[in-house]
């Protein structure tokens, strides 16, 4: 299966037919730092991704100038 990563955008191949949480663990990604997008929907950590599917791991972290009052 393919995994799309962002910033910069790239694709990696990993073994499929596994739960999202196992894929995140293999890629050393903290679960709450990404949206997991499969097709046009979000999926949770227990979702099983088939070998012929593609998921996008879209980072949610942004920052810089911060929220200094």
């Amino acid at each position: 299966m393919k995994v799309i990563l962002r910033n910069p955008r790239r694709e990696v191949d990993v073994a499929g037919n596994r739960r999202v949480k196992e894929i995140l663990r293999e890629l050393a990604i903290v679960p709450e730092t990404v949206l997991v997008i499969c097709g046009d929907a979000l999926v949770t950590a227990d979702h099983i991704v088939r070998d012929d599917e593609t998921i996008e791991l879209r980072p949610v972290m942004s920052g810089g100038a911060g929220s200094r009052p």
Partner: protein, 301 residues
């Protein structure tokens, strides 16, 4: 995983709430959190105009989307930082968002106000880029609001932003910053508008999920100057703590707001003046924005 409310397949797990939600129930959860923030801190009413500072990112556009849906009278403000393609694309996202919803959008260019865009400000002042950017944003948001007689500015800062800022302030014991960290800052001077953060109860994951579910076309790419920013490093530390102990960020921020902040608040007593140059509020004689602008114009010319 099933939705806590309806039992349908869940789209998002919120470990800090020990819950998961399907898409419709998550969207309602999100809106309820915004409603609660506005109600609890009396941020604004439906009778007044709200200036929503938008960057083209997920947080600010999600905020604008909710406020429009809730029936608030909003005007967007996009500050063009002049950061190469990043600014071109983020501005386009804001314009598209505003046009699709027929809401007004004000665009102000930092280069026109300061004398140079953010990349030049960074190179001529040798300040960290986020420092000059943040200073300019805060100044211009207030000034534009005053010019348009809008009494309140709403920003898209979320729980992660607030927790990371608090973490940074505590790490350096910035006693002047702690009392000012609040979801709602009142106007303490006729030339200072209210500033509010209606998303402070929602995590970065939640605002991203909301923006995705609402099909908001936001800019996913990070600002090129954010790489290596201290605030990002603090967020990464806090995210690891959150992974080990769900709710850690929430407890850190809300514990401060509920229990610690009042103690720091009493210690604050800063006299506010009007800048001798531009008339905006400052604690000195010349405001930090005018000093920055002077420095930039001197070096650029």
């Amino acid at each position: 995983m099933k939705c806590r409310k309806c039992g349908a397949p869940a789209a998002l797990e919120l470990r800090r709430h020990n819950a998961a939600f399907c898409e419709p129930d998550f969207l309602e959860f999100f809106r309820n959190q915004v409603r609660e923030a506005i109600r609890k801190h009396r941020m604004f009413t439906k009778d007044e105009q709200v200036l929503v500072a938008v960057s083209g990112g997920k947080d600010s556009l999600a905020l604008w989307d909710v406020l429009i849906d809730e029936g608030y009278r909003t005007t967007g403000l996009y500050l063009d930082l002049g950061i190469f393609d990043y600014s071109v694309e983020s501005k386009a996202r804001c314009e598209k968002f505003a046009a699709a919803r027929s809401v007004p959008l004000i665009i102000s260019a930092v280069a026109e106000e300061v004398g140079a865009p953010v990349p030049v400000i960074q190179s001529v002042t040798r300040r960290p880029p986020c420092s000059g950017c943040g200073l300019s944003k805060r100044y211009l948001m207030n000034r534009v609001a005053l010019e348009h007689e809008i009494p309140v500015v709403a920003t898209g800062h979320n729980l992660d932003d607030e927790a990371a800022t608090l973490f940074g302030s505590v790490m350096h014991w910035q006693m002047d910053a702690l009392p000012r960290q609040s979801p709602a800052l009142p106007s303490t001077h006729p030339k200072l508008v209210r500033r509010v953060k209606p998303l402070y109860r929602l995590s970065e994951l939640e605002t991203a999920a909301f923006a995705f579910m609402r099909k908001i076309d936001y800019i996913v790419e990070e600002c090129p100057f954010a790489a290596g920013a201290t605030s990002i490093a603090h967020k990464e530390i806090l995210s690891r703590m959150e992974a080990a102990s769900p709710g850690a960020k929430h407890n850190f921020l809300f514990g401060f707001l509920d229990r610690a902040r009042p103690a720091f608040e009493q210690a604050e007593g800063v006299a506010l003046n009007e800048c001798a140059r531009c008339g905006q509020v400052t604690t000195g004689t010349i405001c930090a924005f005018c000093k920055l602008s002077d420095q930039v114009k001197r070096r650029v010319s």
